[in-house]
């Protein structure tokens, strides 16, 4: 759009009048609401955008430390960094709480294929899934068999014996919710190795969990069961998946060689990082806000879940910056190892905390995109909080839905604490998720700032009202 002053001015004036009318329309339903909250939430938003600190936090985490798989040296650096950051920002009761985490390492990876009897090796972009076993040094070499459903695997049955099963059922791009599309496709990643091994396969290759067509494989967690032989399992980039599928459709025989050094080492001690603003009236009543500090060992872990960590630290900073004194304690928790075992979530929930009562737990683990609302697990809390949704209209984050929470806070939710998840505009999320695409340059500073403001406002409301 251009600005031709007069013309544009008319439109601006129209927009502003429209906005005022729209706001008035909503405001009149809430005449009984404390007016102070209006100005506090406006101030939080203005400070988040104006001071623009969330992106600084995330940039430090991404650039100084990078990805940080649980148990890795980088994860320990991230623990130290976030503890120091909370202390520098004047959080109270800053501490680490020990967490024993699974330790899986990737090592070197190599994958190529040959067509028919050709000698030429062609590279495939793959990465091992977390918990996968490695291969012998010389790798495994086997023909691949494509399947697009569990039924097709069952039909092929013994045909896959000694071969590598290539699971190539794409996420359904026609669905509005990519979370749903992911949920409907990710069983290939989680269970592919188990199901393929049942029929004697020697490896599993899975189309990456994304609708984007590119060269980057997307990792994530897989698992084994004791009763079935363990076989290596890897993600293949969507571009290579399409290439292999096309060649197979032409009747070509494809032989893949896979070399993986990945391994599972003994568990190690790591930590959740905790800091607070102590409540001035009910310090033992806790409003937890959390995200996970670990990431997969790809990209920067910028959206998953560096952005959540920036949201949480910045939310507390904003409340302190504005010198707000909430009645209840707001506790920031950066959980360790959501990605590969939920160890931090369990450790937090199972720790004895005498006299403390958790009122609610808010999690940010959906990326640093524009916030659009909250999903609230508990319908009573949902109806209580919904009357404050109007405070989020100016940033278009007033969609308060029943149902939600977060993975890290799930163990706490199981003890009866209501869980709340920040909902963001997630259309790009799976472009980046668990891959080398998930880097700091994919995060917009203003969208990130708005997310931190949304968390700060909701945490403050719950702590105060």
């Amino acid at each position: 759009m251009s600005i031709k002053s007069n013309k544009r001015k008319e439109i601006f004036i129209g927009l502003i009048i429209g906005l005022i009318k729209f706001s008035a329309l909503h405001a009149q339903n809430y005449e009984t609401m404390p007016r102070q909250l209006d100005s506090i939430s406006a101030k939080i938003i203005q400070t988040a955008l104006g001071q623009n600190k969330a992106i600084e936090l995330l940039t430090e985490l991404c650039v100084k430390i990078g990805h940080r798989l649980a148990g890795s040296p980088q994860a320990e650096k991230a623990v130290a960094w976030s503890k120091k950051k909370m202390e520098e920002l004047g959080f109270e009761n800053v501490r680490t709480e020990p967490v024993i985490v699974k330790r899986w390492i990737r090592g070197k990876e190599e994958c190529f294929f040959r067509i028919g009897k050709e000698k030429q090796k062609r590279k495939i972009n793959i990465c091992a899934y977390g918990n996968s076993i490695g291969t012998p040094k010389e790798g495994i070499t086997a023909e691949i068999v494509e399947v697009k459903s569990w039924d097709e695997l069952k039909e092929k049955g013994e045909q896959v014996k000694g071969k590598i099963v290539f699971f190539n059922r794409p996420m359904d791009r026609s669905l509005i919710s990519l979370g749903t599309a992911y949920g409907l496709a990710v069983d290939q990643r989680s269970n592919g190795a188990i199901e393929a091994a049942k029929y004697g396969a020697v490896g599993s290759m899975v189309r990456s969990m994304t609708t984007r067509i590119d060269d980057k494989p997307h990792t994530g967690q897989m698992h084994y069961v004791d009763s079935i032989p363990k076989i290596p399992s890897v993600a293949v980039s969507t571009k290579d998946a399409d290439l292999l599928s096309g060649l197979l459709a032409e009747g070509k025989k494809i032989t893949v060689t896979l070399k993986l050094e990945c391994d599972t080492l003994p568990p190690v001690e790591s930590a959740n990082v905790v800091g607070e603003i102590k409540g001035c009236e009910y310090p033992d009543e806790i409003v937890l806000i959390g995200a996970h500090l670990d990431s997969w060992d790809k990209g920067h872990g910028a959206h998953d879940d560096g952005a959540g960590c920036a949201h949480i630290i910045e939310a507390v900073r904003l409340i302190k910056e504005l010198n707000l004194k909430p009645k209840r304690t707001i506790r920031a928790v950066l959980f360790m190892n959501e990605e590969n075992g939920l160890d931090g979530g369990y450790a937090y929930a199972s720790k004895e905390r005498p006299n403390e009562k958790h009122i609610a737990a808010i999690e940010s683990d959906a990326g640093g995109f524009s916030p659009i609302g909250f999903g609230i697990s508990d319908s009573t809390l949902h109806s209580k909080l919904s009357k404050y949704a109007y405070l989020f209209i100016p940033i278009n984050a007033d969609r308060f839905k029943i149902g939600g929470g977060g993975v890290d806070i799930l163990p706490l939710m199981k003890t009866g604490v209501p869980g709340i998840g920040l909902i963001v505009d997630g259309q790009k999320y799976f472009d980046y998720h668990h891959s080398d695409n998930d880097t700091i340059d994919k995060v917009n500073e203003r969208e990130l700032a708005l997310g931190s403001a949304a968390v700060a406002i909701l945490a403050y409301i719950i702590a105060e009202e």
Copy 2:
């Protein structure tokens, strides 16, 4: 976020239940609505995301043609391309309508500065504003004087004589609406040269209209008045603006040399491109959907307004693809020269169209980001359309506001036609706007697809109901 099947499944189920409840809550207010529209709009969304054609259109426009300033050879290519595209897609009455456009050309640009009496030249990232005059071949060399407000310029008055005024009032990043922040800062670009020349300045340099700090200058329209001497006017990148401002704050004298080849040539004939789905009951009643085909001569003009063009062509394609037969005519118009004179908008509105009646005009000129709703100029139409807002809830685009429209359709709106503007999540818009940042890789295919679906659904509703 990770998926640990069971844990994640619980959350997914919770979310889905929440969504169903939420939808039911909204649906019950609309029991009287024709149920057919529900399935039509769902089908439009599914087809837009599943077939994913909007990004193909935009990629062709951006990569094959690139930026397309009115009057340029690229603009003529864009006219031919979009006419051919509409014909290939089976639009009816495909035609061009002549538009006489201003013709401004950029030519080569060079800018550097010297500190004090140093000989070292240091490059500044600048670009001329549209309509700026050029400089003599040897350029102009003058000291710069920074001002942050019109008042400061007035105070400095005769001090700027023979110098270059450096307008450095940033867009206010603490505002939620960057459109408002832009509106409050862009007078420096529009009027800077006029105001500076009143005091005898020989040039105008303006901090780029963006909150992003980077090396890319952002161009845009400026103008002169006949009674004041014309001086060259350029945008300077925000990074360089900060650098220069810092040096000036240290008391350094900064001398800038500016060489511009830009020039205004005689007007040339270009065209609006028009195509339709003829209404089956009231073919003379027109629902116009439009965007502008021209762009500034920077980047690809991807978001501004290639995305709008893709929205419009794809919206018509979606309606045809689903074999919908609207009662009224849906007319796609790609306007020429919104950016530098609104020539296409005026040409369209002033053309005699006997027997035709425009019911409404919808414009997409806010970028290819996730749609969030519509701004509707007319309060009667707003209340009529608002009862269909529930159809847009699944894609979070149900914010129907009073006030809005678009620049291209403004001349039509002045004749009494209600105007509607697609509203999108614009937090990143000014990162790209009018600069080399505005390239195809900044557009997400799914967000673009949702915008086209939103336009298609609203156009169909108006044409049908």
